[in-house]
């Protein structure tokens, strides 16, 4: 077999990693290299060091250790039956690339995943070696995200959490039936058990004020997961219901939704066309509304039709248009919970409105200045100098608030 150059390996193993949506480097502990002689820092919010033309942030060096894999998951570019070019990094190569990139300020750190080779334990052990070397031999204080291989031994998981900021295990499909049909070798309960184990470790590491000794550190940026949208028949209701179950059970920081995207050398069992990217975007919006705006899954889903979210307008507006009897609300009187339900108002704007109205009553242009734009808000609120009159119940309101399709520009 021909020997691959490092650059060729990098091309293969970053190409193979791009279907993982997460590139987050935020939410971990604060630390830096000051006085250590090493490099690296994490200061709360992550930094996107570049953007690819797909609009996605490049924050981490996101690569696979290898794209050889014993599994044959139909949706995956690296499944064993695919003819993609294969490569494998050595532990030392990943360490060197990470440090070289970091020193030039290209990245916040490393996101390392891998195909399964030999056994789950062997694969996990190799990934842990990368993280251990970076932290111990190279005093690297940057961000590390490691993928958890389900079924890997608990002590490997514990060590992974000692070095990594974040761990993730991908749930892959919104439903177990979907997973069974597209990834027959993967077990949904093994995947969820891996998340349950991580959660157990996170609970143990949570600071306890009563305890005298500080618990051992474990993945301070918590855990996340990803599911693929549009490769199976699951509707948005099923997807959001799955997400809500995962958030509640495993203390996930994030669920990532990744619209199924055509892959080279695809299996004929996959859908021919990818779902609209807008569907993915709407799911993220819905996820946000459920976590931070007090909506529940059935409410959000009821804004659309047949278990699918409305692609043309955002889920909060879709819900409000179907619940117009609850509007308008008076921005000078109603409490935060009701303001959260007004289309076009975000949590920050609402907090600023509440602060401002302690000093004087809000007029429509006050709301406009705070919210940034007013078109979507206006039909649903009353202010000192404003009442929407018949606008709230206007038959053409939906049409008025639906954004015109933009001309696609290539550059």
């Amino acid at each position: 077999m021909a020997v691959l150059t490092l650059r060729r390996k990098l091309a293969i193993l970053s190409d193979a990693a791009k279907y993982d949506a997460s590139c987050a480097s935020s939410g971990t502990e604060k630390r830096n290299s000051a006085g250590t002689g090493g490099i690296g820092s994490t200061e709360g919010s992550g930094i996107c060091h570049s953007y690819a033309p797909d609009g996605r942030c490049i924050s981490l060096l996101k690569i696979l250790l290898t794209n050889f894999c014993v599994y044959d998951c139909i949706y995956c570019v690296n499944r064993s039956s695919s003819n993609v070019a294969r490569a494998r990094f050595s532990v030392e190569e990943v360490v060197r690339l990470t440090l070289d990139f970091y020193k030039r300020n290209y990245i916040e750190g490393l996101f390392l995943s891998s195909g399964i080779i030999q056994s789950p334990d062997y694969t996990m052990e190799e990934m842990v070696r990368v993280a251990r070397s970076l932290r111990q031999e190279h005093k690297f204080a940057g961000y590390i995200h490691l993928k958890v291989i389900p079924n890997a031994a608990p002590d490997l998981l514990a060590e992974a959490g000692r070095w990594a900021d974040r761990l993730s295990t991908n749930i892959e499909m919104p439903t177990d039936v979907g997973l069974a049909s597209l990834a027959p070798e993967k077990s949904p309960s093994e995947i969820r058990t891996a998340m349950a184990r991580v959660r157990g470790k996170l609970d143990e590491a949570a600071p306890d004020k009563k305890a005298k000794t500080k618990p051992e550190k474990f993945a301070p940026a918590g855990q996340s997961t990803q599911m693929i949208i549009g490769a199976d028949a699951a509707d948005d209701g099923a997807i959001l219901h799955r997400a809500a179950g995962l958030y509640s059970g495993y203390k996930l920081r994030r669920v990532y939704y990744s619209a199924f995207s055509p892959i080279p050398d695809a299996s004929s069992r996959l859908p021919l066309k990818p779902p609209p990217l807008m569907r993915e975007h709407r799911l993220y919006q819905a996820d946000w509304l459920i976590r931070f705006y007090g909506f529940d899954v059935p409410e959000i889903v009821s804004g659309g039709e047949d278990g699918l979210l409305d692609l043309q307008i955002d889920p909060k507006l879709a819900w409000a248009l179907k619940n117009r009897h609850l509007f308008p609300v008076n921005v000078n009187r109603v409490d935060r919970e009701l303001l959260l339900r007004v289309p076009g108002l975000g949590t920050k704007s609402i907090d600023r409105m509440i602060q401002t109205r302690r000093h004087h009553s809000l007029r429509l242009d006050d709301v406009a200045r705070i919210a940034g734009s007013i078109d979507k808000v206006r039909p649903f609120i009353e202010a000192v100098d404003w009442t929407p009159g018949g606008l709230t119940d206007h038959a053409r309101l939906r049409a008025k608030l639906t954004p015109q399709p933009e001309q696609l520009s290539l550059f």
């Binding site: 091309a11 033309p53 797909d54 609009g55 003819n83 619209a259 695809a266 200045r369």
Partner: protein, 482 residues
């Protein structure tokens, strides 16, 4: 008209001294012209030193914080805006809380533009390496910020790159770190730093490989990585060709017909087929324990972590049957490890039942819950779920062959009796089942935990323990007979 010329572009303390003097002299904001070293000379009248000793009130810390940031904005009006706000704050100390005030809005906007600029500097500085003859590696970067934000951003690079020697050069100032201390210097030019770095080739390879051509979102990229920064980003030269090739690349991916699997895969599949998976027949407790993980007899498997099977000795004398695993049991994969399990353990020990001869399980093997934020709220299994799961409970009874079964709560009683049951009517007396096993019915231990009234809880605990005493006596009687 008073005019003030500041020596620095972004020195808050210098501005503060000047502003304080003006305030003490009672000079209204409209009568002050502010200049910095870049302001064209001769625009305003001559300097006029203001003097006075009017009292100056304190300002809220939030103003100082915003002003320290906003002063680095390149907006020539920044000094005047800050003085106007300082003046207005003397009369109205809560002015900043009025988010809709135009001056406040502007201050917030100036400060946030500076913060954004500083953030972009953290993101888009690109160091290049220089190796000198002695083998010492140093790093240097050329960066063009939109505002005067180098001073506020340099400490970030110090914290991050402690173990490196580096310089950041901008048109208006520069910063140097020698591994021990931070120094500042005058502005420079692009040619002051190296023009290439071998690692940039790897970086460009990474940039083009991580890009997914099927998801072109150029506007999104441009809003987060504005074009004005591109000229100093080595990867930016790839953007245009990547976009041009994207549609083709996507089309090619879609159209390429699935090829034949590689021989490595075919060999592996062939090996697997030699050992066909036998239709798993359940002939032991261990078989049942393995098989339950694949159970799809009701929809509860979908959201639970795993099936939680019973635990205890293979031929336990007594089997306790609860309702279903709770949150902690679901995560751990073991029955009765949560709060209810502790109540049960305590009661079993207290009445003197030998815990090592007890098998514990549940009528339903998967956790049924309703997600609520970060918690899972327990839900009672329905008749269909109980009936579906009876298959597994029957297997446990068949293989363990307990002499006595204890139904903890209505769900367990319903499962074992095949009909809905009322605890209060059934407790306290043995029930002989069809296969001759003795059944006792009592409350679920979690019921005790839910009683808010202490006295009532103590009473119910006594009744629960009294039920267990009956169980203990029944076991002893059975043992005496053998």
């Amino acid at each position: 008209m008073h005019s003030v010329t500041l020596q620095a572009l972004n020195d808050f303390d210098e501005w503060r001294r000047a502003a304080r003097g003006l305030l003490q002299a009672g000079i209204v904001p409209e009568d002050v012209a502010w200049r910095d070293p870049l302001t064209e000379a001769g625009l305003f009248g001559a300097e006029d030193v203001a003097e006075g000793d009017r009292p100056v009130g304190s300002v809220p810390p939030a103003f100082i914080e915003l002003a320290r940031t906003a002063i680095a904005n390149a907006d020539p009006e920044r000094f005047a805006l800050l003085y106007r706000l300082l003046w207005r704050l003397q009369a109205d100390r809560s002015l900043l809380e009025v988010s809709s005030d135009p001056d406040v809005t502007r201050l917030v906007r100036l400060a946030s533009a500076v913060r954004r600029d500083s953030h972009k500097m953290k993101a888009f500085v690109r160091f290049r390496s220089i190796l000198d003859d002695s083998g010492l590696e140093r790093f240097a970067a050329w960066f063009e910020p939109e505002h005067y934000s180098l001073e506020m951003t340099a400490p970030f690079f110090v914290r991050r790159f402690d173990g490196m020697i580096w310089a950041i050069v901008t048109p208006y100032a520069s910063a140097f770190w020698d591994g021990e201390s931070l120094a500042s210097g005058p502005g420079g030019k692009k040619t002051d730093v190296p023009q290439e770095d071998a690692i940039e080739g790897d970086w460009k390879t990474y940039f083009s490989s991580i890009f997914n051509p099927a998801r072109l979102k150029v506007a999104m990229m441009k809003s987060e990585m504005p074009v004005k920064y591109w000229r100093n980003l080595p990867e930016a030269e790839l953007i245009a060709p990547l976009i041009r090739g994207a549609r083709e690349a996507e089309q090619e991916m879609i159209e390429r017909v699935a090829s034949l699997p590689p021989s490595r895969h075919v060999r592996k599949k062939a090996r697997e087929e030699i050992v066909p998976e036998a239709e798993t027949e359940i002939v032991s407790l261990a078989d049942a324990r393995a098989a339950v993980q694949g159970c799809r007899r009701c929809p509860l498997y979908e959201h639970a972590t795993q099936a939680v099977f019973g635990e205890g000795p293979k031929h336990a004398q007594v089997m306790f049957v609860g309702e279903q695993p709770g949150d902690q049991e679901d995560l751990a994969g073991k029955p009765f490890v949560g709060p209810a399990g502790k109540v049960l353990d305590a009661a079993v020990e207290k009445v003197g039942i030998d815990r090592s001869r007890v098998y514990v399980t549940n009528a339903v093997k998967h956790f049924k819950f309703e997600p609520r934020g970060k918690r899972r709220i327990h839900q009672k299994p329905d008749g269909g779920e109980i009936a579906a799961c009876k298959f597994w409970l029957n297997l446990e009874i068949e293989f363990v062959k307990p002499k006595v079964i204890v139904a903890l709560g209505a769900t367990a009683a319903q499962s074992l009796l095949g009909r809905s049951a009322t605890i209060s009517k059934l407790r306290g007396a043995p029930i002989t089942m069809d296969d001759g096993t003795t059944l006792y019915v009592t409350n679920h231990p979690s019921y005790l935990l839910r009683i808010p009234d202490r006295e009532k809880q103590a009473l119910e605990r006594e009744k629960f323990e009294a039920d267990l005493v009956l169980v203990r006596d029944a076991i002893e009687a059975l043992e005496a007979r053998h």
